[in-house]
Symmetry: C2
Subunit: 687 residues, 2 copies
């Protein structure tokens, strides 16, 4: 609740005094004042630029940073895991064995990884607002907004060649044009065994104390050569200790701290329960499949991993939303914000209706939420089929009128995904589709038009088997041919998945349109009003909700109250071997053989993980932890269980970011993995 | 809530099926059926007798067990701590250095430790109930009950020579005569440093994972020789692992699981808050004193330790009582019990009014609770003075009419305390008394008769200084002289503490009498009714509340859900060194030098602590953990934070007993303490 609190005039004075290190600050509005007052640290433009240009976003949904002048890129194993698995086969399972390239030639290409570096930011709020003039309804405004944003992005792409995204901040209080330098030749250099990267498995996920070597190293190439750049973070092998100032520069995915109470209630009552139901359905299917053979387990591993991760996160979020204290505080904050707005006749007229409008739109949205949530085949094939069918139609339209995902500036990234050579597993698709259809049937009922069309009177399993049997979409070349062949090729295709996608397309489009006209457009317009109201009332004293764009957070290494005692600020290798011995090496507390055999080589008092008060959220995975000198001292890989409610509230007394310690990474690379060349490059910059 | 649940007819069927390993069972009514059904373990009389006779109660408030045929007695360091400190001086601080007697001659006498072994049990319910016949009021019944109990105890003592206590079980549903063999020559053999015995200090107290070597060894002598006996537990140096069946045989102090809702509400609203206020007051005084010098810190150490321990425990209990779910379930259980009683006209007539009577008595008691709780000087001197003044009067009365604590059967133990040569510290008494009087003043007000009398118009500090200056009670010889001189010697004494105790005596007696007549007698009579009602409705299918008498609990080594993950079933030395390194050896996570220097000698994967589902409570400290073969495999020293509500409810999913592992004790004794002779005695029985 502290963001909202901080947004209140009456509470503003308390801001720097009482609240903890909250904030995912944009680089145009960094917490300079707080850092000076609280940590006696002077933030310079030079420091900010250096850290920004060394920070990267990965399209697999995480963050990372450059850690050598030769394009070495550090991120989490769990962010790299998709690429590792795509390079794995039944014979070479890099998830199990880990991977190390001792030479450039051994570095493995990532099939579809894209790396973005934020090279410039431009405030385009005025431009967007100007573009909305003359709109007579929320619907019309929605269309105009899409137009003007697409135009800004297209113009920027044409002018600069950079990936150009218009980002909505403060619920529409501001619009910014972010330009990214994009890299697509990204090769895998090092990854440890999944077993040590994700030590403790699902039980220890989102918890602390923790003992994970959740790291991976890539190298970024351009024109067939490793990039050369001074924009990297110097490796500090000593890392940090209790009380040290820490920064995190990364890409938090999404938060809802500025959402209205009505929106949080919709989350609590509709969205999260439905999401959890879907996750459970997906997990059930995959676990059953996974149990069939070791190869099936390998194929499904990454997806199960992701689903378990989501399940735990959503359970934590839901628990937070169900906490009467959390919602009570939110209500209090909102009431005070409303009162402030209503106390000024001008503000009241301009913004006063926003809360009710959002509440009404949320309510309307719920009338069709089952279609929104449960219609889906949960198949890689059907996802590709839908994209192909839509692609060939959408690119014929003016940019501003296209569906989201098909704008000019997004096409290159989309094609990288569509043409990815990563393997798909037909045997696995069958249970996935079967399970999803069973859920569709149960939730939407057999008379639902979508269900009727997909099922055609057959059983979920029959449908799934027929669909998978009749598709060639597993072949990247065939997908390419369809895209290149355009509308006529797609219309002529007798591929089962394409045929179904063609039939479903009108249903999907109708739902998207309905959602835009009745919910999104209203919420966006009202959100913009609240964004303006917030600026009017309080100025730009706070940070916007997370949007998977670059943010800076500050904080310090710090213990916290936990289960009656205090959690340690750092953990050591001793703790890893304690957990291993106390569970007698049973999974998920077993260790790779390398770690069992190599124990005596390690200094067991070396820190492996640590916790900081930095405000982070999913998407920050792989973000560097940076010290005051701008050096890298750690690698964010998780938040503790107390941080899960952070989507809605930052509660500084126990909310902690969990990171891998550079001392532990250095020790393991050197003593257990024989990666002396990498350590040397990290320490000296010399390859 | 599960005890109460189990007491309900409708829930009885669920009993063995759903509920966890609850129960502090008396040895006359052991959980034979549950053990057979749940653990396939056949409990024999021989097994029970052996374990009972190897178990001991310590008058310092803990439990212990014989672990060799030569009287070697194992308990917790924190139980032995009072005796260790009484043997310590500014020069020899055994709390800091630990202690090891390599020879019999080096073993140190405990100034005032008494050890009890339960040698026989006799059901005297009928005798007590017969003795109450003809009583016309609760008051009269109360007096008659005291009479008949004192008579039974006296008769048994005379006949057998054993310490004889009548124990009230099931709130008076049963009365049992327990006879104890008593030992008073108890010598200290081994204790580690306080730092490792209580590793993690107050933060880690009542929590888990834990890394404490909370052990001490005494040797019990009789007629100047170590006792020889086969009633000892064989030392199993391998200990136990996950899932193993475990028994705990010890003396849980007190629980309130059969209390009525009205009693729990009184606890929640009056008793616990007042107790916490008093603990805080005592702690404040002692911490201030302690800060003056290392010697002051040493003197106050044990008491501060105990107070911090109580504070954390009471906070946990209060939190449990304030949990709406806990109280709601309690209410539901009580309503169902009431309904069952009221459904039978005979039961309704005999027992139906008990709940209201207890509620009314609790309410009445609260009218004078400030006198009950806050009148006190918190001084060792004033405690002794009060006992001396009362003693000389009481022993002249018939046994049945004496105040509690002065019955014939209690006198020997009382004298051991009164004449203990343990040192008292006058410098420390002054701040203790000053602080206590400040609280008395604040709570009872300056016009309260007790306050007026004690203060005499002076300030708390002036009163304290004058009292301490004018007393000779620090001298055990002087105390002996007063006791031996009887009423005339006490009446003639001009010792400031004795003079004050004489003046306060009538006020105290009036309050005790009022409490007995208005509260205790009513609660006791009504409690007895409920005890009978429970037997009538359900038979003897459950166990009575704890009464600091011998109980057997069963369970198993088991992990539990903790803070988002699972707690390990055992911890290892690796974990100790992890916590030490992660807090960079800062107190209270620092290690004794011996442990820092000796790390390489240890097998770090050796278990040090473990958790079991056994149902325990304060008083169980020092209890042996026994395996199916009747061997000792661990040493109870704490409950986890989730167990604190166990006073009122046993919640099996996370309630855990925390114990020291025999493997860890063996490893440390041998490799770090040079106690090979002790280990040899433990393993072979040969000294």
């Amino acid at each position: 609740m502290k963001t909202a609190l901080a947004a209140l005039g009456s509470a503003l004075f308390l801001f720097t005094a009482v609240r903890a290190d909250e904030g995912m600050w944009t680089f145009d509005n960094p917490p300079t004042k707080q850092l000076q007052e609280k940590y006696n640290f002077t933030l310079t433009t030079q420091w900010l630029d250096h850290v920004r240009l060394a920070s990267v976003r990965l399209n697999d949904g995480g963050s990372g940073s450059f850690v050598s002048p030769n394009g070495l890129l550090l991120t989490n194993h769990h962010v790299a895991r998709g690429q590792l698995q795509k390079n794995s086969t039944a014979e070479h399972d890099y998830m199990k064995t880990g991977f190390l390239a001792q030479t450039s030639a051994e570095e493995m290409k990532s099939p579809d990884l894209e790396v973005n570096v934020l090279v410039s930011m431009e405030n385009v709020t005025q431009k967007v607002q100007d573009g909305l003039k003359g709109a007579k309804s929320a619907e019309e405004e929605f269309a105009k907004r899409k137009d003007v944003i697409a135009a800004i992005e297209r113009e920027s792409l044409e002018k600069t060649g950079f990936r150009s995204d218009v980002v909505t901040l403060y619920q529409g209080g501001e619009y910014w044009l972010y330009r990214y330098k994009k890299y697509t030749d990204v090769r895998i250099v090092f990854a440890p065994e999944q077993q040590i990267a994700f030590y403790g498995g699902d039980p220890d996920n989102f918890t602390y104390p923790r003992y994970d070597l959740d790291m991976a190293l890539f190298r970024v190439y351009e024109n067939g050569q490793p990039i050369k750049s001074d924009n990297y973070l110097k490796w500090n092998p000593q890392g940090v200790g209790d009380g040290d100032l820490t920064f995190v520069s990364g890409h938090p995915g999404s938060t809802s701290r500025l959402d209205t109470l009505a929106q949080l209630e919709a989350e609590r009552d509709v969205v999260e329960p439905a999401t959890l139901k879907i996750i459970k359905n997906r997990l059930d299917s995959l676990r059953k499949y996974s149990a069939q053979s070791p190869e099936a387990a390998r194929q499904a591993g990454t997806t199960i991993f992701g689903l378990e991760n989501s399940q735990k996160a959503y359970l934590g979020r839901l628990k937070g939303l169900q906490d009467a204290a959390v919602m009570g505080a939110k209500k209090k904050d909102e009431d005070a914000f409303k009162a402030k707005v209503n106390s000024n006749p001008q503000w009241k007229a301009a913004y006063g209706k926003a809360w009710d409008q959002i509440a009404a739109a949320e309510k309307k949205g719920q009338t069709r939420f089952k279609e929104q949530y449960f219609h889906g085949l949960y198949s890689s094939y059907s996802g590709l089929a839908q994209q192909i069918v839509q692609y060939v139609t959408e690119i014929k339209k003016p940019d501003g009128q296209r569906l989201g995902g098909y704008h000019e500036s997004q096409l290159e990234s989309l094609k990288q995904q569509l043409f990815s050579p990563a393997p798909l597993y037909p045997e696995m698709e069958i249970p996935r589709i079967t399970g999803a259809l069973e859920l569709d049937l149960a939730e939407a009922g057999p008379n639902d038009p979508w269900v009727k069309l997909v099922m055609g009177g057959k059983s979920p399993k029959e449908v799934a088997e027929a669909l998978v049997k009749g598709t060639k979409l597993g072949d990247a070349e065939y997908r390419k041919k369809l895209i290149e062949g355009g509308e006529s090729a797609v219309a002529a295709s007798d591929d089962t998945m394409i045929v179904l996608a063609r039939k479903l397309d009108p249903i999907r489009r109708e739902l998207v349109k309905w959602q835009e006209d009745n919910v999104d457009s209203v919420v966006q317009r009202a959100g913009e009003m609240l964004g303006k109201a917030r600026f009017a009332a309080f100025g730009k004293t706070t940070f916007p909700d997370a949007t998977f764009t670059l943010r800076l957070s500050y904080g310090k290494v710090a213990s916290y109250p936990m289960n009656g005692t205090i959690a340690p600020p750092v953990t050591t290798f001793h703790g890893l071997y304690d957990r291993n011995a106390s569970f007698t090496n049973k999974a998920p507390f077993d260790l790779p053989q390398r770690w069992i055999d190599g124990k005596s080589k390690l200094d067991l008092t070396t820190p492996i993980n640590f916790v900081t008060t930095n405000d982070i959220i999913g998407g920050n995975s792989g973000s560097p932890v940076v010290n005051a000198a701008g050096e890298i001292v750690g690698l964010i890989f998780d938040g503790n269980i107390e941080s899960l409610v952070g989507d809605f509230v930052y509660e500084g007394s126990a909310n902690r970011a969990v990171a891998v310690h550079t001392a532990g990474m250095t020790e393991a690379l050197r003593k257990l993995y024989g990666a002396d060349k990498i350590v040397n490059e990290l320490l000296t910059g010399i390859r």
